[in-house]
Amino acid sequence: MKVRSRSAKQAWEEDFAAGPTREDGIETSTISGVPLKPLYTSEDLPRREEELPGQFPYTRGIHTSGYRGRLWTMRQFSGFATAEETNRRYKYLLANGQTGLSVAFDMPTLMGQDSDAPTSRGEIGHCGVAIDSLADMETLFDGIPLAEITTSMTINSPAAILLCMYIAVAEEQGVPADRLGGTLQNDILKEFIAQKEFIFPPAPSMRLVVDSIEYCAKEVPTWNTISISGYHIREAGSTAAQELAFTLADGMAYVDACLERGMHIDEFASRLSFFFDAHIDFFEEIAKFRAARRIWARWMRERYGARQDRSWKMRFHTQTAGVSLTAQQPELNIARTAIEALAAVLGGTQSLHTNAMDEVLALPTDKSARIALRTQQLLAYESGVANTIDPLGGSYFVEALTDEMERQAEAYFKRIEEMGGVIPAIEASFFQKEIADSAFRYQQELEQKRRLMVGVNEFTVDDEPPIEILRIDPRLESEQVARVRAVRAKRDQARCSNALSRLRKAATGTDNLMPYILEAVRAYATEGEIMQTMVEVFGTYTEQAVV
């Protein structure tokens, strides 16, 4: 038998070498540059003990029953300009059976600035809702029972403040904090690396993250304290292996910081969640997701000694790659998103956001937003891919590629460790340089047509749709400015300034800041005032930019 299959392989090799090769100059490596063989066979299958879903190290999924037990959550992220409008949309969604909400904030809010700050001019309400104080948060969730829904909040530097606002609104509804469910992105390390929405320097930023994790472990135990993100790193131009490695390294840095604080690994590990990109190179993404689960499980159990399986199981949300969408021939984006969503599903994601086709140009229309959601439903109910758990398990190619992803990630972990860890590496601009290099390399490949972007550098058409963007009513800006000023005028000034000075004092010490922030929030201190109080103690961060 053996002799026969070897000569069959040889025969194939000879035939292949003698056969035609495409002359189009397109790269045959993955989009990240991983070289691919034309064929993978049983010889490429890694030799290991059989892996099964729901069993350590969870390469094939964290749940025994996969999507047979429960489908992934279809969680579409969306954002509107005012708290009122968003509130109306939430009520509509809830009435239509959705149980999970997702909040997008505008730039000034993301950057910890009030709407009346001079640098907020022109930026209010463009990519999400403007929240300046508890008053806006009350409007946002007016009439929405926080005990019965879960909310995801995408915010980083000021995350602790927004979480406190959420808790305060729940209080007003009579809902205790321990009944609250949701996720806070709260991943400051990736801000330094990729998205650049940092305010304070790394050390105090980490302190705040650990404060929030520590606080929630006791007071808000069903809350996902952090969504450790690779999405932004990938969108900034990294390769899949870099996305995988840098995200998991960030995760480990958070774990280290919490352990240093004195928490026990099993106290907080199960509430850490992840967020990945689903890019267009199909198989590479699937391998990436599988490798991610395996690596995290091993590190949690073997390096950190976590004892509960909840602590070993990586849960992640995925979003299809915004950066793969084109403004040209935007209908193609529907196909791209479908391919990417399929990769996420075959990779076993817990929840998924699919982009709308016109998202590169504007806030999606109702129709394109619906198509994006329907794409997921197609996958779930028509394509049959959810019927078998980890259907690509055992594929010579996918298993080999999963191992390769793991190897590349481990190589990065070593380098990061040699640099002294994630924060020294950030300060040495290591990640930023890797990302900038990958981004530039990819751009060159595009310009040389070694990789194609259909509609952009090939297969173009002359007649293109105009770019449409969401026009924010200029009145909105002045209204929001008036609102925040009114809040400042109306509140109990003494209570507010006391709360802020107590926060300031605590910031100079080592207390957990959450209770102090909560008190300031209750006193209607604005987001900007709370951030400024902390800036006075922590300072701000200027990155050493590498181009």
């Binding site: 640098t119 930026e123 981004a439 990155e543």
Partner: protein, 136 residues
């Protein structure tokens, strides 16, 4: 490279406003360097005043801005106005970002030389600069 021969064109490259997505601006900065320009990268969160001040100190001929936040109709004109105020309207302003055609037309009327939208090949930007500054 004879030092007396050619005057390298100096370009200020910056992101104005709160948006931090710098993938595009960095790729463009590199491409401009590879094309022989002296690129002064002033980074994120610049105000119009800071950008113009830098351009003056550096004796730059060009300012390139990247804006993805939707605030382009406020920020580009602010830079043009600041150049007027500092009596430096000879400095050429161009930029990139997610900017609709109507806005591009309006911005050009206000004094922005060119806007490059997503998908523009780097080579096109370089060629535009070369035509604009043939001696550089």
């Amino acid at each position: 490279m004879s030092p007396t021969a050619v005057r390298p064109v100096r370009i200020i490259v910056a992101k104005v406003g709160l948006d931090g997505h710098d993938r595009g601006v960095k790729v463009v900065a590199r491409a401009l360097r590879d094309a022989g320009y002296e690129v002064i990268y002033t980074g994120l969160r610049q105000t119009p005043e800071m950008v113009v001040d830098a351009a003056l100190q550096e004796d730059a001929q060009v300012i390139g801005l990247s804006i993805h936040s939707g605030a382009h109709m406020t920020l580009f004109p602010a830079v043009v106005d600041e150049l007027k105020r500092r009596k430096a309207t000879d400095i050429v302003v161009f930029g990139g970002g997610i900017i609709p055609d109507d806005d591009i037309t309006a911005l050009k009327k206000q004094g922005v030389a060119e806007i490059f939208t997503p998908g523009t090949p780097l080579q096109e930007i370089v060629e535009w600069l070369r035509k604009r500054f043939p001696e550089g």
